[in-house]
C-alpha cells in the first residue's frame, strides 16, 4: 500500500466506501434494540451498603468508596459476540437507580415505569421491595436533590415560570473527559502522576481529594482486571475454537491496558470504553461525550494499518462495536423527561472532521470509517457531529451529506469558523478552542479540561415578555410573579414596552443567578466526583475536585428561549399595535388574556400580515438579535462560584414543548400552552416561507459570537435532495455557504412519509414545505389532497 505521503491515509477512502455491513454487528444491534429493559437496583444497593460502612467520612471519600465498591462488586458479564466488553449493569440498557443524586421521582413512578408511553422499564418485584425497604429510608435527607430543595427550593420555584433551573437531581455530565490523556497514560499512569501532585499539595482537604482519586483509580484497575479474569475463565470452558480465541483476545487486551497504556487500535477502543462506563458508574449523568475520536484514535489506527496488524474491515468492526456500546448505557429519566427526550439521548456525542491546530483539514481515514459505521448502523447513539470549516474537503462534505440523507438526522453540522472565535471570546485559548468538541446535543466545549456546566438554566424570554405586557401577572394562572413594569395599555410608545421588558429580564436574571449559584455549590458539597476529576486537566495539579472548580475552564451556560417567538411577537406589537394601530392596545391584550377566543380573525392577521423571523426581513430579524444580545450581555455582570464566566446558549433541543406549556397566548399568534419554536434559533414552525437560504440569512444575523454555549437550528429537506447526485451537490454548496455565514450549528431532518401526512393534517405547521420543480415551485400545503398523496407516495418510495 502507498502511504508514504498520505499522512491521513486518505488513499483508503475508496476502499472504505466499499465496506459492507457486518452480519455479526447487525445481529448484535437487533439484540440491543429489542432487549427488554429493567430497572436496575444493584448499584444502588452496593452504594447504600458502602455509605453505611463509611458513615462519618467526608462526602468525597464516601463517593469514592461507593464507586470503588461498585467497581469491585457489581455483577459483570460478557455477552456472546461482544468485541469491546464492559457495562455498568448485566442487562443491556437497564435503568440505573442512583440514590446519591435523587430518587424522589423513582419513588413516585416506580409503578408506572413499565407502562408509561415512552422509554418503559420493567421492574422486578424483588427490586421494588428492596427499593422501598433499603434504599428509600436510608437516603432520606442525604441526596443532592433534597439538599437543594431544603435550602433553595422556594427561591427556585418562585421564578419557575420564567426560569428553569437544571442539574437539581443528577450529577454533572455534559463533559468531554481527557480521553487522549487517559489513553496516553492509562489508569496506572494517572495513579503514578497523582503521587507527584500529592507531595506538593499537602493540606488536609487536598489530601482527602487525592485519597479519593487514588481509591477510584485503583477501583478502575480492579474493574478492568475482573473482565480479564472473566474472559479467561469463559475461554477455558468454551468449546468453540473461534470463541475461545476471541475471549482470550479480550482477556489479553484487558490485562494489557491494566499494565500499560494501550498500544493497538483495539486496546485503545477497549480502554476508552472502560473510561466511559466508569464515568457513568460514578455519576449516572447525561452526556459524557467522547469528543474528537477521529483525532485521538487515529495514531492507533494508523500504526496498526501500517504494520499490517489490522485490516480495514476489522477496524470497522471494532468501531461499529463501539457504536453499539454507546447504545448499551441509557439514562433513565422521569416520565416528564422521557416524554420530551424519548429514545435515550444520552449524549455520547462524537465530533469528527474540522481543522487541526495548523488550520489544516483534520479529516482522516478514520473520519470516513466512522461515517461508514453511521451509514451501516443509523442508531440513536453516538450523537454524531461533523465539524466543517472553509478548508473541509468536498469528499468529506459529500460523505456527510450522503449519511444525512439516510434520515437519522446525523451527522449534525457545526462550524469551526464561528465556534472557535466565540469560544476564544469567553477566555479559552486558541489552541483549546480549535480542539473543541460537542457535548450532549449541541453544547460547545473544549476537550478534557472544562466543567462547562452547559445547562445551568433555561430563561424563557417569551414568558418574560408576557409578564412585561401584563402587569407581571401570569396569563395562565392569574398569579402575580412578583415584579411589574406595567401593562400594554400603560405604554404610550413602543419604547416604553422595551423599557419594561428590559426591567423584567433584569429582575429575573438577578434571581436566577442566586439559584444557579446555589445549585453549583450544592454539587461541590454533595457530588464531588474524584474519578471525573482524574480525567479533567488541572484538577489533580490543583488538588481540587472538578465540582469545586478544579478544572482549567469553568463556564456556566444559560439558554435564552426562544429567539423566534420573541422576534415575531415584537414585530407584531410594533407593526400592528404601535405603528399601524390596526388594533388598540386594550383590545390586543384582551385577546391574549382570552387565548384569542373570539379573535381568530385577528390571530390570522397576526400570523399572515406581519413578516416573521426566518424570512430574511431585516427589521424583524433585528428583534431576535437585539434581545439575544441584551440577554447575553446581562449574564456578563456575573461570575460563577468556580471563578468562571456565564455565557449564553440558544437551544432547547426538545424543551420547546414543555417551555411552551408555561407561556400563555403570545403576540405572535401562538395559542396558550402550545410549543415554542423548535431547536433554538429555528424560525417558528411554518413561518419561514422564503426557503432555506432566507432562514440561514436570518439566523446569521444573530451574533453567534455571543452564543458560545451553543445554538441549534433545524431544517427540513425532502429525501430526493440526497439521492440525486446533482441535487446533493447543491446541498453541499448550501453547507459551504452555511460555513461562510458563520452560524454555529444546523441539523437536517429528512422529511418522511409521516411528516407529509402530518402536513396534510396540520397545514399551518408545514407552510414552509416547498416542492421544488424546474421553473415552478409550489408549497406542499397549497396542493390538493390527491396531489399531496402523489408526493407522499413518491417520498415513501424514495425512503
Amino acid at each position: 500500500m502507498e502511504v508514504g505521503f498520505d499522512k491521513k491515509l486518505l488513499g483508503l477512502i475508496p476502499k472504505i466506501e466499499k465496506l459492507e455491513p457486518i452480519t455479526r454487528i447487525t445481529q448484535m444491534k437487533d439484540i440491543i434494540i429489542n432487549n427488554e429493559r429493567f430497572l436496575s437496583l444493584e448499584q444502588a444497593l452496593i452504594i447504600t451498603d458502602s455509605y453505611k460502612r463509611t458513615e462519618g467520612k467526608s462526602r468525597s471519600l464516601q463517593r469514592a468508596e461507593a464507586l470503588s465498591d461498585s467497581l469491585e462488586l457489581i455483577t459483570i458479564n460478557i455477552d456472546d459476540d461482544e468485541l469491546l466488553v464492559g457495562n455498568r449493569t448485566v442487562g443491556i440498557r437497564d435503568g440505573v437507580v442512583f440514590p446519591e443524586a435523587g430518587i424522589s421521582w423513582v419513588e413516585k413512578e416506580i409503578d408506572t415505569l413499565p407502562f408509561r408511553a415512552q422509554d418503559k422499564f420493567s421492574v422486578r418485584n424483588k427490586d421494588k421491595v428492596d427499593f422501598f425497604e433499603q434504599i428509600v429510608p436510608f437516603w432520606k435527607g442525604r441526596t443532592l436533590e433534597e439538599y437543594i430543595n431544603t435550602n433553595c427550593g422556594n427561591e427556585i420555584s418562585a421564578i419557575s415560570g420564567v426560569v428553569k433551573i437544571n442539574q437539581k437531581d443528577h450529577a454533572q455530565g455534559h463533559i468531554i473527559p481527557d480521553v487522549k490523556g487517559w489513553l496516553g497514560k492509562g489508569p496506572l499512569g494517572l495513579l503514578n502522576e497523582l503521587e507527584s501532585h500529592k507531595s506538593i499539595n499537602k493540606d488536609h482537604q487536598k489530601a482527602e481529594f487525592y485519597e479519593s482519586v487514588e481509591i477510584v483509580l485503583k477501583g478502575a484497575l480492579r474493574f478492568i482486571e475482573r473482565y480479564a479474569v472473566l474472559a479467561k475463565s469463559l475461554a477455558e470452558i468454551n468449546s468453540l475454537n473461534d470463541s475461545k480465541q476471541e475471549l482470550m483476545t479480550i482477556s489479553n487486551t484487558c490485562n494489557a491496558i491494566i499494565r500499560r497504556p494501550p498500544e493497538t487500535f483495539r486496546e485503545a477502543l477497549q480502554s476508552m470504553w472502560f473510561l466511559f462506563v466508569i464515568l457513568q458508574m460514578e455519576s449516572n449523568a447525561s452526556s459524557f461525550s467522547p469528543g474528537r475520536i477521529d483525532q485521538y484514535l487515529f495514531p492507533f489506527f494508523e500504526k496498526d494499518i501500517k504494520d499490517g496488524e489490522l485490516s480495514l474491515s476489522d477496524a470497522l468492526e471494532l468501531l461499529e462495536a463501539l457504536h453499539l456500546n454507546f447504545n448499551k448505557i441509557v439514562y433513565m429519566r422521569n416520565s416528564e423527561g422521557a416524554r420530551y427526550f424519548a429514545g435515550f439521548p444520552i449524549g455520547f456525542n462524537i465530533s469528527i472532521g474540522g481543522q487541526d491546530e495548523n488550520g489544516e483539514d483534520a479529516a482522516n481515514a478514520l473520519t470516513f470509517l466512522i461515517l461508514k459505521a453511521q451509514e451501516h448502523l443509523g442508531l440513536p447513539q453516538p450523537n454524531m457531529t461533523a465539524r466543517l470549516y472553509n478548508g473541509s474537503s468536498d469528499e468529506f462534505i459529500d460523505t456527510c451529506s450522503k449519511v444525512i440523507g439516510l434520515g437519522s438526522g446525523m451527522p449534525q453540522i457545526v462550524n469551526d469558523e464561528s465556534i472557535i472565535p466565540s469560544l476564544q471570546r469567553v477566555g479559552i485559548s486558541k489552541k483549546d478552542a480549535v480542539d473543541y468538541g460537542l457535548v450532549g446535543c449541541v453544547e460547545l466545549s473544549t476537550q478534557g479540561n472544562n466543567l462547562g456546566w452547559s445547562d445551568a438554566a433555561m430563561f424563557n424570554l417569551l414568558k418574560a415578555l408576557e409578564l412585561s405586557i401584563n402587569d407581571g401577572v401570569c396569563l395562565l394562572t392569574g398569579e402575580s410573579k412578583g415584579f411589574s413594569a406595567g401593562a400594554l395599555e400603560d405604554f404610550s410608545s413602543f419604547d416604553d414596552l422595551i423599557d419594561a421588558y428590559k426591567k423584567t429580564i433584569d429582575f429575573f436574571v438577578n434571581k436566577m443567578m442566586k439559584a444557579v449559584e446555589f445549585v453549583d455549590r450544592a454539587h461541590a458539597v454533595m457530588m464531588p466526583s474524584p474519578f471525573l476529576s482524574s480525567v479533567i486537566k488541572s484538577c489533580t495539579e490543583k488538588g481540587l475536585d472538578v465540582t469545586a472548580g478544579g478544572a482549567q475552564y469553568n463556564l456556566s451556560g444559560i439558554q435564552a428561549i426562544q429567539v423566534a417567538n420573541v422576534a415575531d411577537s415584537m414585530a407584531v406589537l410594533r407593526q400592528m399595535v404601535f405603528s399601524e394601530k390596526r388594533i388598540s392596545k386594550e383590545e390586543f391584550i384582551k385577546a391574549l388574556r382570552g387565548n384569542w377566543k373570539g379573535y381568530e380573525s385577528l390571530r390570522q392577521s397576526v400570523i399572515h400580515k406581519v413578516p416573521k423571523y426566518g424570512n430574511d426581513v431585516s427589521w424583524v430579524d433585528r428583534f431576535g438579535t437585539e434581545w439575544a444580545d441584551y440577554f447575553a450581555h446581562s449574564l456578563e455582570n456575573f461570575q460563577n462560584i468556580r471563578g468562571g464566566r456565564y455565557h449564553m446558549g440558544l437551544y432547547t433541543v426538545s424543551a420547546h414543548v414543555p417551555m411552551g406549556k408555561n407561556v400563555g397566548a403570545s403576540p405572535d399568534g401562538r395559542f396558550s400552552g402550545s410549543p415554542l419554536a423548535d431547536g433554538g434559533v429555528s424560525p417558528m414552525y411554518g413561518q419561514d416561507i422564503k426557503g432555506p437560504t432566507a432562514v440561514l440569512n436570518s439566523v446569521s444575523k444573530l451574533k453567534s459570537n455571543l452564543a458560545s454555549n451553543g445554538t441549534l437550528l433545524n431544517l427540513k429537506f425532502l429525501p430526493s435532495f440526497f439521492t440525486n447526485k446533482e441535487d446533493r451537490e447543491k446541498f453541499n454548496q448550501f453547507l459551504r455557504t452555511f460555513v461562510e455565514l458563520k452560524i454555529h450549528h444546523v441539523q437536517f431532518n429528512v422529511v418522511n412519509k409521516h411528516d407529509l401526512l402530518e402536513a396534510q393534517k396540520y397545514p399551518d405547521k408545514y407552510k414552509n414545505l416547498t416542492i421544488r420543480v424546474a421553473g415552478y415551485t409550489a408549497y406542499f400545503t397549497e396542493l390538493a389532497k390527491d396531489l399531496q398523496n402523489e408526493i407522499i407516495e413518491r417520498t415513501a418510495h424514495e425512503m
Binding site: Q604, T693, T770, A784
Partner: protein, 293 residues
Amino acid sequence: MTGTVFDIKRFAIHDGPGIRTSVFLKGCPLRCEWCQNPEGIPLDPILWYFSSKCIKCGECVKNCPVDALTKGGQDPNYIEIDHDKCTLCGRCTDVCPTAALSITGEEKSTEWVASELLKDKVFYEKSGGGITLTGGDPLYQHEFSLSILKAIKEYDIHTAVETAMFGMEENLLKFVPFTDLFLVDFKILDNDKHKVYTGVENKLIKSNFERLSKKTENILVRVPLIPGYTATEENIINIRDYVYSIRADIRIELLNFNPLARDKYKILHKQYPTFQTNRSYSEEEMQSFNRFL
C-alpha cells in the same frame, strides 16, 4: 424602470448552475395547453385565491366595493371571483386575515427586484449560482428583463434567462451581453403540432434559436416532457437532430413532467388538459427518454 413580477423564489436549484433565485415575470405569447404557471401568461395582475388558506370569514365579500366576490362556491373556489368586475383595488387582500386572497403580479422596480436578488449573493458565490429570469417569458417584458440583467451584472453574478424565444430577434439578442446562460425551451419540432398545442408556430422560435446560437455558446435546450404531447420518441429525436444540426455542442436536457399545476387551472376557471398519466416519470422512464438524446 418597473415591470410586473408574479413571484420570486429563492433556493431555486433546477434552473441553472448552483443555488439560484428565480424571478417570475408576467406575460407570455404562447398558450401551451400544459403550462405550469398559467397565472403568468397574461401581463396584467390577477386576484388569486387559495382555498386551503381560507377560513371562510367572509370579510373579503363584505369589503369588496364592486361586488366582484361571492362566497359559497364549490371547492376549491369557496370564494368566487368575477375577474371582469374586479378592479384589483386590493381591499379584499388587505382585510383577508390569512392571505388566502392575494394579487398575483405586482408592479416592481428594477431596484427592488435587484435588492431581493442580492440577498442570496453569498449563496451564489459559494455555489457558482446566480439568478434566473423566468415567467411567463422574460422576453415579453424584455426592457424590464434587460434592466434586471444589467443591474445584476454590476455585481458580477451569474445570470440565466429561461425563454421560449418567441419574440423579436433584436430584443432577444440584446440579452446576450448580460446573460451567462440561456435556458431555451423547445417543445415540439413539428410546426403544425406546435401551432395546435402552443397557439403559435415555431418558425420564429427556430430562426431566433439559430441566430442566438451564432451569438453565444451558452445555451441549454430544455424539453418539457408532457405525456401525449412532447414526450414521444419521435419528438425528442427530431429536436435532437435539429439542435445538433445547428450546433453540435449544445446540451439538451429533458424536464420531467410536473403534474402539480392542476389546481391553478381550477382557480382560473380554465380547463386542465387530460394527460395520459398524472404522475411524473420515474427514474427508469426518464432514463429511457434520455436514451433518445
